[in-house]
Symmetry: C2
Subunit: 168 residues, 2 copies
């Protein structure tokens, strides 16, 4: 089972792909897409759409797990984050890959055991869980954490016969 | 000059295309894309992306004018509206059509003379300006109003040598 985690942002979006084989987690790929602040918003979002499709085509995930934020500093920043999420989700929809959303506290708890863990702590634990010393950008580590969260939650849910995450 | 106006919404998005020939406004096409609430969010956004591209390919606008909202009831509704805008803007960016944004009060004032005009009043004035009796859905009339707003604002700005709207 291959899962692509995404940590959407209006400036930088993290992508992290993790495979699970016989209960063992394995790093497939991780990285970030940074958008130029000088570029027109429509061109930035078109690039985010295209990059999301490229990640899906390259890694062929069975599911995309996205960090879902339901709070924001203000309506303007919620709109900007929403626009980035819109481009990413539309790309997933067009590729026909199902999407599930996880709240940040759920992701942090699944990886570190603490819902309020710092980003650096999340990155450290992701490295431990994937047996990798790579010092990823924080957004890429966050994306890997969402993928791991989905894989671990699904394994437990399969045992209990439950559904996981919020379908998006 | 052909302008496509868009009134984005998480449930229903209005599209309205207006041409200007020798200072005369002319209706090209208008309609709505309604998204099924039961469908997965990613599939809804993929459809909105595809429909936006279809409108652009069909009407070949030189510019897309989008109603820009910077306030919302709460962060959750701002995120939902942002997601719809993200899919629409990404489609415009991928088609290479420049996008400009206008605030609702600016659009209403350009069409009715009053920034706080009701949606029905906007629809009535759009009908008058386009010499058309068609009773469009309110979201389609709003989209036509954004297109008319851009055409009128650009005409005045060209005379004054100014730029118009907010580039998106």
């Amino acid at each position: 089972m291959v899962v692509m985690g995404v940590d959407p942002g209006s400036r930088c979006t993290g992508f992290g792909v993790v495979a699970e084989t016989s209960g063992q987690l394995q790093l497939v790929a991780a990285g970030c897409v940074r958008l130029e602040a000088e570029e027109a918003v429509s061109l930035r979002l078109a690039r985010l759409f295209a990059e999301t499709q490229r990640w899906i085509q390259r890694c062929q995930p069975g599911v995309v797990a996205v960090e879902s934020v339901f709070t924001a500093k203000n309506a303007a920043s919620a709109l900007k984050l929403g626009q980035a999420r819109g481009a990413i989700l539309a790309a997933c929809g067009q590729c026909g890959v199902p999407v599930v959303g996880y709240e940040p506290t759920v992701v942090k708890k699944a990886v570190t055991g603490v819902g309020g863990a710092a980003k650096e702590q999340v990155r450290f634990m992701v490295g431990q869980l994937l047996r990798s010393a790579t010092c990823w950008p924080l957004d890429a580590a966050d994306a890997l954490a969402v993928a791991i969260c989905h894989l671990n939650t699904s394994r437990l849910a399969r045992l209990a016969g439950q559904r996981v995450g919020v379908e998006l």
